[in-house]
C-alpha cells in the first residue's frame, strides 16, 4: 500500500509490515496503524510513522540498546490487547524526545514503552510505574563504568 508522509514523501509499504495499535498512542487514540522506518542506514534509531496521518511520526529506539535488562511485566489489559500467548516474541521500544537543537540532551521514554507482539503484529503503549524514568538520557556516563541497574516494572494501577 502507498502511504503519504510529511517527512519522507510517498512510501510504498507492504501490508504485512504494518503494526496495529488498537488503542493508538497515549493521548492519540485515533491513529492505529503504523510502520517502522529506518532513520538511516545502520542507525540505532527508527521512525514510528502513522499510516493514518502523514505528519504523525516519532523516533524510537529498542530499549535493550539502553538497558540490557529492561523488561515489562505486561498488565492483563495489555495481554488481551496484544493477543499475547506464552512465548510470543515481543519487541519493546522507547519513544525518543529531542529538545530543539540539542540532540546531545535527547531522552527516551522508558516509562511508557511501545510493546509489540511480533506474532500478531499488535502493539500498545504501556504506562509503567512512575519510578521508571519518563526522560532517560540517551547520553549516559561511559558504559564501562555504568552499573547496569535492574529496572523493575509493574503495572501502574495505583
Amino acid at each position: 500500500m502507498k502511504i503519504q508522509t510529511s517527512r519522507f514523501g510517498m512510501l510504498d509499504v507492504s501490508d504485512e509490515t504494518l503494526l496495529i495499535f488498537p488503542s493508538g498512542l497515549v493521548g492519540f487514540p485515533a491513529f492505529r496503524r503504523f510502520v517502522v522506518l529506518d532513520a538511516a542506514e545502520a542507525s540505532d534509531y527508527q521512525w514510528f510513522q502513522s499510516v493514518d496521518d502523514p505528519s504523525f511520526a516519532v523516533v524510537i529506539v529498542d530499549v535493550h540498546l539502553l538497558q540490557e535488562n529492561f523488561f515489562v511485566d505486561v498488565p492483563d489489559e495489555g495481554l488481551a490487547e496484544l493477543d499475547m500467548i506464552q512465548n510470543d516474541p515481543i519487541l519493546i521500544m522507547a519513544v525518543v524526545t529531542i529538545p530543539s537543537g540539542r540532540p546531545d540532551q535527547a531522552t527516551a521514554n522508558l516509562r511508557a514503552p511501545l510493546v509489540v507482539n511480533l506474532r500478531t503484529r499488535k502493539g500498545k503503549q504501556m504506562i509503567l510505574h512512575e519510578s521508571i524514568p519518563l526522560r532517560y538520557p540517551l547520553l549516559q556516563a561511559p558504559a564501562e563504568h555504568k552499573p547496569e541497574h535492574e529496572v523493575v516494572t509493574e503495572p501502574a494501577s495505583v
Binding site: 527508527q46 516519532v58 515489562v72 515481543i90 511480533l118
Partner: protein, 86 residues
C-alpha cells in the same frame, strides 16, 4: 460533567462491571476504592498526562537531528528478533 454526591461507603457504578466506592474523607483528600475488570486501565490522571505530553514533545522531532543522536550498542530488527516474552 455529571456530578453526584456520595457519603462514605456509598458507591457509584459505571456500566455493569465498574464500581467506585468513597472510602475515606480526610483533610482535602478523598480515598476511592475502584473495582473493575482487569482489561480496564486505571491511572491517576497526572501519570497519563505526563506520557501524553511526552508523546506530544516527541512528535515535533526534526529529522535532521536524528543523525546526531548517540549510538546504541546493536541494531534493532522488527522482523524476527525476540526479546523477552511473557
Amino acid at each position: 460533567m455529571l456530578i453526584l454526591t456520595r457519603k462514605i461507603d456509598e458507591a457509584i457504578r459505571l456500566g455493569e462491571d465498574i464500581r467506585i466506592v468513597l472510602v475515606q474523607i480526610k483533610g482535602g483528600q478523598v480515598r476511592l476504592g475502584i473495582e473493575c475488570p482487569p482489561h480496564v486501565r486505571v491511572l491517576r490522571e497526572e501519570l497519563y498526562e505526563a506520557v501524553r505530553q511526552e508523546n506530544l514533545n516527541a512528535l515535533s522531532t526534526d529529522p535532521n537531528q536524528v543523525q546526531a543522536l548517540p549510538k546504541g550498542r546493536k541494531k534493532l530488527s522488527t522482523q524476527s528478533e525476540s526479546t523477552e516474552s511473557k
